[in-house]
Subunit: 335 residues, 2 copies
């Protein structure tokens, strides 16, 4: 850590956060069990395994087109379990509420939490409520932790990408980040744009049924966007990754907004997009399974794992550029 205070960049999903986790948090975590850089930890329990994950949601505004902090909290934790090929079973719900929050707002958000849990067959089984004084929190923070049951062995993991593997994604990137930014800043866009906030456990179950152990890595592209996820995979697996821009599914509204706002779409957060790194032989059948799922209609094979240690993008113009791990803070409180 280079400064003596915590900055927004430490929570950005980018370089400063990676370094913070490595220096300050990993030493107090159980390295053997925890694998601090996975979306969910795989842990021995009784005679088998469980997966376990946690996330606190601080998104601002609390409600935005396509979702709200409640739906996000349930979907986000389901997704972290799904990325370890696990069936999400149980979720804990912990609220930090700022004094003065409207009961009507809270009720709406709790309703959204309940609906998301029911739709995805996960049970909310334990909880906690804290209220802090006015000005001591910003509306509402929600923590959800989740327990899942692994569907296969070995689990997909961030260290398991292999040279020659194909890289798949289930749709266009950047919708969540731009939708939240537009809602927060009251921007006017030409097109309606909604967050992609969705629970991916069903999609992953279909992918596992189609591809099984050929699925080496699954990762949802949240904070730091596709750029952060690809760099995490490359670094953890000791490989390079090349993405072909012409094959990336695109949402024109996102691309337009990014151009106007000067943002890099690959660094914008998603809440319903996953990256899969799979053995090349199985890529076509996994892609087919993804496209048959409602959350994977626009899925595509977008790149390949190479020798090296860099993430590169083959642009529409045939040139190649490095995709770096995002640094600094693109948009705080995106999730």
């Amino acid at each position: 850590m280079t400064s003596d205070i915590v900055t927004l960049a430490h929570g950005s999903g980018g370089r400063a956060m990676q370094e913070f986790i490595r220096r300050e948090l990993m030493p107090i975590c159980d390295q053997e069990l925890g694998r601090a850089l996975e979306d969910a930890a795989r842990l021995p329990f009784a005679d088998g395994w469980l997966t376990f994950t946690t996330d606190t949601f601080t998104v601002q505004p609390l409600e935005f087109p396509g979702g709200d902090i409640g739906k996000l909290a349930i979907c986000g934790t389901i997704n972290d379990l799904a990325m370890r090929a696990s069936q999400p079973l149980y979720i804990s719900l912990s609220l930090v509420i700022e004094e003065g929050l409207k009961i009507d707002t809270l009720r709406r958000l709790l309703g959204s939490i309940g609906a998301a849990a029911r739709e995805n067959n996960v049970a909310i089984v334990t909880g906690d409520t804290k209220v802090v004084g006015k000005g001591q929190a910003d509306g509402l923070f929600i923590n959800t932790a989740g327990i899942g049951k692994p569907m296969m062995e070995p689990l997909p993991g961030v260290t398991r990408a292999q040279v020659g593997d194909k890289v798949l994604i289930n749709g266009p990137v950047g919708e969540h980040g731009i939708a939240v930014l537009v809602a927060r800043e009251g921007l006017q866009l030409q097109t309606e744009l909604e967050s992609d906030c969705a629970a991916l456990a069903g999609l992953v179950a279909d992918m596992v049924a189609a591809g099984g152990r050929a699925i080496h890595t699954l990762r949802d592209a949240t904070r730091g966007g596709l750029a952060a996820v690809l760099n995490e995979i490359a670094a953890a697996s000791g490989v390079g990754i090349e993405i072909d821009e012409s094959r990336l599914p695109q949402n024109p509204a996102v691309m337009g907004a990014c151009e106007i706002l000067g943002l890099e779409p690959l660094e914008v957060a998603n809440e319903g997009k996953l990256v899969a790194v799979v053995a090349p032989d199985a890529a076509p059948q996994i892609l087919e399974a993804m496209r048959e799922h409602p959350l994977g209609r626009q899925s595509a094979i977008v790149g390949e794992v190479m020798e090296g240690n860099r993430v590169t993008l083959k642009t529409l113009y045939g040139t190649s550029r490095i995709v770096d791990m995002p640094s600094g803070e693109l948009l705080p409180r995106i999730c």
Copy 2:
């Protein structure tokens, strides 16, 4: 809920919070599995059971005599698992940090988290970090969720107190609440007073070894203090409870501070005190096991479960008074 905004009382552990949980949260929880009023949920997993709990810690100040928010977060979650007679195995750690928090402070608190986890043989296995802007949180909030393995069947539970059972406590009440209050307000007391913040899993393991199924209910007396816990047990089990003031272990510094400050010691929060409701035959051997443990030296049998639905205190003067569920907000951000 009688008002249209959330108030501090909704997070107090008292009457308003009970009602909030019942009206707003229980409908979205899985009633069968969750038993929203237990300290930890007992859940089927593989061919057996696990226990699962969550807590967010918002204590202010972050450091106080006898502990800090980090130690509190680990001990609090261990205790919630221990109250369901479970061995704590895994803990998740989720931080919401206010921009500007000193790195030195954060490092000290993370060190305290690591030490508490090591001392109690629990592994921190997964985590999350969010940073919010200045003024959007107050220093640091920590969520810990925990997974435990039940040591016996049936588990102790808040609904299982029976008429004739004895009520035990492992020491004097009120130390945490008064220590935090003194630290927050910069009060000067005659005596040094430290929070009782401690992990009770070892004590409970010894109690289970001594008493097994004779232990009907275990509950740590946190927010709302002994008064809240006894009322919860009475209401959930459909019984009355009579406490004998002359048998309550007392810390003179707490009693003195409560007298000066006009506080009811039974309503002041603890972070290392449990109430056990046990079959009368087994009470002496459980008491003995408690007294042999470092965290139970001052344990005592302090009361009995009766017919009825009220919690009463037989005072030092031989009179009897009702101990109500605390209402309103005694001291916000105590844990």
